[in-house]
Symmetry: D2
Subunit: 314 residues, 4 copies
């Protein structure tokens, strides 16, 4: 049975695994990312692949990396976490390991993993929204991963949600991820805790007393205990996510949305409100089927599994 | 040489034509649409096809209709201008004419026409935005027309541009077409003429004195004569179009945008401002190639030609 | 005891009354407004005053009119309902009746009536917001009615709530009254009933089946029966009212807000949500006293009583 | 001739001066603010007053302080720069100096200084907008300083300009000062320099190469040299200022606006655009006189002079 290797290159660690045709991880290892030295990252990746390849026939390798990947799936044009600029990652790694290599955007790899083996199994048209620090996106259309003309498609977090809205790291104002991400959740929770501390008694207690110490985990825990500020922050995020999904449905008409990323682990706290908002703000509602809104199923290994499978279909 | 027939079904007239493989219209006719009697529309269409077919070998027929078309390209689910609901147009017409028939959304057919034989020739990834009364859209990805999971894709005019913005006919608030269409142009020109008549002296003169009589033609003519109100209305529309294209690029990363529809006939008055706004509001600018923004080339026959070609590829 | 006469000049009827120093109406009459003939309005007003004056010593007359009144309280610059332009109403009426006459904006007169004898008794700093078809406003500061430098103050409905928002009759975009008035309530209820009829079952039943027939009364009745669409429309209006009050508090820091107008008759359906939104969106909350938010108490006679009292203080 | 003393208490220095009835500063001194020890600030103020009083008959003292001042003009409820909370400043200073003392908000004092002796001379209804780091405000109505019911009036920077807009230090979203202040100017200039460095060549050169080093002075200098990014940042600020003035005119109908603060020193770069935007976005334009928009005239001494004059009118 043909095996491929998938590698998920994060800012702090490199996860690599041997994956079979059913998306099962046969073997798996983790290495710290030498992030302070971007030149060594390719070396670390190559080492991991060589180790996993020992005694196995590996067909190809798929690398998932946060950043803009070019349309030939060879070069990382810009990767904020690893300081890569026009990095010829495909060539470097394939030279080291002597195997076919493809490079994918990490959110694309995750989307593909979920589409093939996770929450999107059987769906031909699917949009995967990764709600983490920011928002990542991956799009599967007519059964294939969609990359765009130059590999820059599915940068979903940068649709504009609010004209003249909050400043985004991308340099624009009002990007969706400024309202609908984990960062937005935390920022809204802190804002309420600062401005209305009596609504955030539990949240502040959990966070050790000051709004600055509130992070996603504190908001989640406080929301589970019924803290009004934490619930309001989740509600705001949930509605903005719903609005963005409605915008995406106007463009793409997918069969389902898969919501992943760190914030989706607490999806029970907010996904119903996202569904409700989506349903009531979808243009053409009543004259069209409703896309399903689901949680991702593969968790942290979606990117690795997706990258491995994309290598198989290179 | 294989010929097909394309039909563009509008609210006032039905245009049908015999089209060859190069997108050339070999013969062409026009019939009034019996809009007050939606049942007769299929009959009118069938008649036109039969007349055009005389003495010719026709391979297939493509029908372009404003409205939601189902994913099997057979049924018009909802067509506002023709009062169709779940209309089995494909079956009705193919029964009459004895030929293979496909039904397409009209904006999709136009996009395909432009992609194959017009401004988008040679482009694999293209978004066509039809700026008329409202905004229509068509998307070509990886060289194929994109329809969505249920045939409802590319309803581009209904992405939200302004939260809690202007009421749209679709029942939502702040849809893009409320800011970036011909209707928006006229409404903004009337608003300025009403509120600041001294800025709209020429515009009001051309319109016969009152803001209510201002239509698109008057705004265009006044803008050509330098009327400040008309120019401001074009400028507003141009910028909102640019913002929407930037949002679409974040999702789709197309190689080019083709702008069609009635308002694009005066594109010299506004398209440069759209390009400038797009370029300065695109997320990731500087790290990615810029999609071209072009005017449609086929004019009113784009839909007919596109529908005919789509029939060939059924 | 000194008596004055107050007149409330509406688009359909003229209400006039003799009012004592305690704001009690001693005698009262109603006349239809000859709105199709603006010249006759002054005559109708004069007649009513003369009739009420018979056998009584009247000190002065106060006229309340919808429209812009100049800073000398003599001339109605612009009255949409009565087609007055630069109407010298003070002179016309005083010539007829031989008494001192002052002209006031009707919302100002209402605010004064409430401040002196209604919900604002004892308050020195008060903002009255009349939520009817649109939004009217009156401001009492340091115990005096505030008119502005040229008599145009307190046009509260025309603060901008949403940049590039809904078109207002005043020619601007996004005015507060487009979101926070009775018209906004009806428009939102119709929108939801059209787009999501399953949420508006009762509302549509009450309105006789079609969204177009929904008016304020239907929304109110449906909301009382728990109709989700009607409740959502009230909720939207309530929150926008709360936001506007928070903006006004940033400028004026009043001791209380008095909410009047037709929509305030159903205040039990929405005023709590307005208070909650105000409290949580007030800048500086926690470091400042909270203004009271109250319902008007004088109902339809507030304008008449206020105009009469302002005449006394001319 | 009666003399009073005015004191302007800033975060870094205390400016005090003896002022005559014509608003002339007779003598003047500066002391560093012992900001790290808020208790000593009253002592520093008292010392300065005693020194200036030597050999003179002083009628009263006015203190201007950034922060919320209570309606009795005695207590500073909250002063961010000096860490005062419920500080009984009036009592402390009057105990030290044995003179009548009034405490005023610093922006109120500036507004009064400009109204009496500066750009607002002769105006009875005036709004002063201080465009510095944030936005401060002062309102003069019917010839008197307006303070609000509890002394919190004229916090103009915290009207909402953009729903769900940028986070403000006050805990709200979308406050006017997030769009129309010096901070907003710098933040917009940095944003453009980061996202479109080719538009900010001069600006970046002046700032030493990196967007982070851009401050107000750099934006001003670059704008004078025609730098497109700097000009765009000024233009954005100018328009948002104009919108806010239009909102204020809807509420207050002032005879003039006086624009002060650090950013007004470069008013030639932006005030015309503010005037134009104001004129075209004022509700009721065409039916009302236009308030004048002027630059402040007294510069940094406006607060001191205003506080001194308010002491005279205590």
């Amino acid at each position: 049975m043909a095996l491929t290797i998938g590698v998920d290159i994060g800012g702090t660690k490199v996860a690599a695994g041997v994956v079979d045709e059913d998306g099962q991880i046969v073997e798996h290892l983790l290495r710290p990312t030498p992030a302070e030295n971007p030149d060594q990252v390719a070396h670390t990746i190559g080492d991991a692949i060589l180790e996993l390849s020992k005694g196995r026939e590996i067909e190809a390798v798929g690398l998932g990396a946060a950043g803009f990947v070019d349309e030939t799936r060879s070069i990382v044009r810009f990767a904020p976490n690893l300081a890569w600029r026009e990095e010829p990652l495909q060539r470097k790694v394939s030279d080291m390991v002597g195997l076919p290599v493809v490079v994918e955007n990490d959110a694309n790899a995750m989307a593909w993993g979920e589409a093939r083996f996770g929450a999107g199994r059987g769906e031909t048209h699917l949009v995967c929204v990764t709600v983490g620090t920011g928002i990542g996106g991956g799009i599967v259309l007519d059964g294939s991963l969609y990359r765009g003309r130059w590999g820059m498609g599915a940068e979903l977090g940068h649709m504009q949600a609010v004209p003249d809205g909050r400043l985004c790291g991308c340099g624009n104002l009002g990007c969706w991820e400024q309202y609908a991400s984990g960062n937005a959740l935390v920022s809204e929770a802190r804002r309420i805790a600062e401005a209305e501390p009596d609504k955030a008694v539990k949240l502040l207690e959990i966070a050790g007393g000051t709004p600055d110490q509130i992070e996603g985990q504190e908001v989640t825990e406080a929301a589970r205990q019924g803290d009004p500020a934490a619930l309001a922050a989740f509600s705001s995020m949930a509605r903005w996510i719903g609005q963005g999904l409605a915008d995406l449905a106007a463009v793409l008409d997918p069969g389902c949305f898969v919501l992943g990323g760190g914030v989706s682990r607490a999806a029970d706290l907010w996904i119903d409100e996202t569904r409700e908002f989506y349903t009531t703000h979808l243009s053409g509602r009543g004259h069209r089927p409703l896309a399903d809104i689901r949680c991702a199923e593969l968790g942290a290994s979606a990117g690795l599994v997706g990258a491995a499978d994309l290598a198989r279909r290179r």
